[in-house]
Symmetry: C2
Subunit: 254 residues, 2 copies
Amino acid sequence: MNSANDGSRTGGGTSGTLRGARERARSEITAAIKDEARTQLAAEGAAKLSLRAVARELGMVSSALYRYFPSRDELLTALIVDAYDSVGAAAEGAAGPADADPVERWTAVCTAVRSWALAHPHEYALIYGSPVPGYAAPQTTIAPASRVGLTLITVARDAHRGPGVAPPPLAAELRPEAERMAAGLAADLPPALVASLVAAWSQVFGLISFELFGQFTKIVEDRDTFFAQSVARIGRDAGLAPAGSAGVLHREYA
Amino acid sequence: MNSANDGSRTGGGTSGTLRGARERARSEITAAIKDEARTQLAAEGAAKLSLRAVARELGMVSSALYRYFPSRDELLTALIVDAYDSVGAAAEGAAGPADADPVERWTAVCTAVRSWALAHPHEYALIYGSPVPGYAAPQTTIAPASRVGLTLITVARDAHRGPGVAPPPLAAELRPEAERMAAGLAADLPPALVASLVAAWSQVFGLISFELFGQFTKIVEDRDTFFAQSVARIGRDAGLAPAGSAGVLHREYA
DNA sequence: GTCTATACCCCGATAGAC
DNA sequence: GTCTATCGGGGTATAGAC
């Protein structure tokens, strides 16, 4: 992943411009390879991603690709990191100002993630679907993978600073685990809130995965509305709304 | 999938016993093929399931397999149907008596699904994970696929017959879709309840998928407790508990 | 219903010339 | 850094003998 070594042998003291040009060409080709790989991801899936097919489509010879990615798994890792960064950026961009309504912020972030998923279903499957057999994600994927979760925690933190927002109930059996989670994720937040958030976060991805992976076929039709309402309720129940605000809805329709 | 045609040519009027033996042998071999295929599913994933490898491992020659499954996709379909039936049976078996506590029944069914998933991760991935590229599930998978959902609906129906269990709030925007869902899934239940149930159902699978697919690595450790508590809350929030019962918990820790 | 043989494809990875 | 050539695998599916 570090291209600094490549130009140093010939470009050492002769020409900074040349080295710059080479690095530019290199990064362009790298980008083209990843783009084509993403196309293949859509057609054949991650398990069958093949360097040869990518090379063929780019008019290269397979061995040339090894100058850019030392193995198939490294290419896969690059795609995974890109995907996490892409959805993470979408989530961060949707979070909005810290003083906005927490449930609306929560809903906006989750909706952004869903929109990203609908626009990039195969990349979504790559990072949130079944693991690729025989592939083990390296440590480098951990940081980008956490961006969405951190965004949601930020929303919760801002909400918790506001008035009247109480953490949700926490069962006694869950307290030790909740404290462990809070210590690792957001030591400044109440453990009950952190535990609720992690559950809520995974529940939102359950909604998205079911929609994307076809489990809602013939069951849910107006999926935009269904998602928006479900996610808002998850957010409220997780402790982002001032206590009692859900009751308003309840009174309306009881 | 229909084996009646195979023995009829030679066994027509001569020997019912012979035909019985042949069909028995056939079903045993069919089972052996599926078992070996499941083993390969675990090792290589559904996308790379190959008839040749299955045949090799069984000491057969690849072309012999075509007498049992006309194509790779038919074998895959058989595995999918088996998996849905397997998890469906586990769910149904855990539902317990109709007069038990609804939230406990809900939790028992969801826990059974999770246990099944942990015991059969690759079959879970096959049916609830990323779709297999290039494979389209035929209509025959629909009925087995609905068994878990129907079990949860049954639990909700029994709960709704009980005293004091009110459907959860339903936002006005969601009412048309909720009525559509209710019409297709459980016309005798309130639309608000059906919509909540579908959302809750997908949220439970979000928890299971995140755990199974590695998203809880280094985040959730005591997963049994985390799942049990999260699922119980989902069930209560979906309208399986008498109104106000969640408040008990709330008062305990507020 | 199992066998051999075959047609015709695919892959990851490396060696060594240029 | 790209090329050809190569090693040593893999696959689906069918034809036709037995």
